[in-house]
């Protein structure tokens, strides 16, 4: 990742235009060619520097629901539990964390009722208790991270 990649990442986190040729518009702002921007963006996605590029949908605004949940996965079953939980399409993110509650994941579902269904299915398949921590209130969310 070089300085130009950093500029591209920062610019593309800000909000991508909705217009006929959006890559060309961003490329012009960055002083590079449209194809060069596309090539670099593809490389950043391919090598995992960017996990995604596109619209970020707010599940709750779509009538869906989100929650944060955690389990205490026994060390010897950690990989197995990871596979079970990750196989659910409702699991949007999953992080290993250094705590007795050592696996934390975000569920995003089409309807609020599916949250509890998904939690029950995870509990059944893993045999673990799922600690459900839906937000009572959101004080701040900023998705941008400076490269």
């Amino acid at each position: 990742m070089d300085e130009l990649d950093k500029k591209i990442i920062n610019a593309l986190q800000d909000g991508f235009p909705i217009c006929d040729a959006p890559y060309r518009q961003v490329a012009e702002q960055l002083g590079l060619g449209e194809q060069e921007l596309l090539n670099r963006l593809k490389a950043l996605l391919d090598n995992g520097t960017l996990t995604r590029f596109g619209p970020l949908y707010n599940a709750e605004q779509m009538g869906g629901a989100l929650t944060l949940a955690a389990v205490k996965a026994p060390k010897e079953r950690y990989d197995e539990i990871t596979d079970i939980i990750n196989a659910f399409p409702e699991v949007a993110h999953n992080y290993a964390r250094n705590h007795e509650l050592n696996m934390w994941f975000v569920l995003a579902t089409e309807t609020p009722g599916q949250i509890q269904q998904t939690i029950s299915a995870i509990e059944q398949q893993t045999g673990l208790t799922v600690y459900n921590m839906p937000k009572n209130k959101e004080y701040f969310v900023n998705l941008k991270l400076e490269a």
């Binding site: 909000g15 619209p55 009572n136 991270l145």
Partner: protein
């Protein structure tokens, strides 16, 4: 309210935009829409907050943010809104939420995510939150992520089949 066409657009774009010079044109063609209609609908969804933003999602680790801490705090319920707002306003906090406790094991009700390129940077951030909370902080912990196990974002199983009410 979302209609079936919006849901088709969501389905077609939730994994990402095409990396072609006219990405909206490409999606519109695939869905049998005009590019103008597709762009109008995306703009409307963005204005309504259904799309938070269109853009890139970086992997924290790859950008050098190796220390990603979920700081959790036990705050008296009657003060949590006031203090949650203040913590959320700190420029290094990326997400800040009030969440339920699970006593007796989990007494923390305020969650604030911090990100740093070094342990010292994150320690300084945590110290700043602790100072802001002062005596209202009845206990805290920091859970560092040691590994991203999955990061796909929201994926609907079958967004099209669901009719709008």
């Amino acid at each position: 309210m979302l209609d079936d066409i919006d849901r088709q657009i969501i389905q077609a774009t939730q994994t990402g935009l095409p990396l072609t010079p006219q990405p909206y044109q490409a999606i519109a063609e695939a869905l049998g829409l005009s590019a103008d209609e597709l762009m109008a609908r995306l703009t409307a969804m963005q204005n309504d907050g259904i799309i938070r933003r269109i853009g890139a999602v970086p992997n924290h680790y790859k950008l050098g943010y190796r220390f990603n801490g979920m700081t959790v705090w036990n705050i008296p319920d009657e003060f949590i809104d006031e203090l949650g707002q203040k913590v959320g306003q700190l420029d290094f906090v990326s997400h800040c939420y009030h969440r339920p406790r699970h006593p007796p094991e989990w007494l923390y009700n305020l969650f604030a995510m911090v990100h740093g390129k070094s342990q010292q940077a994150v320690d300084a951030q945590i110290q700043q939150i602790a100072e802001l909370l002062g005596d209202y902080n009845l206990g805290c912990d920091v859970l560092y992520s040691s590994k991203i196990l999955k990061k796909t974002g929201f994926r609907s199983r079958d967004v099209i089949s669901q009719k709008s009410p």
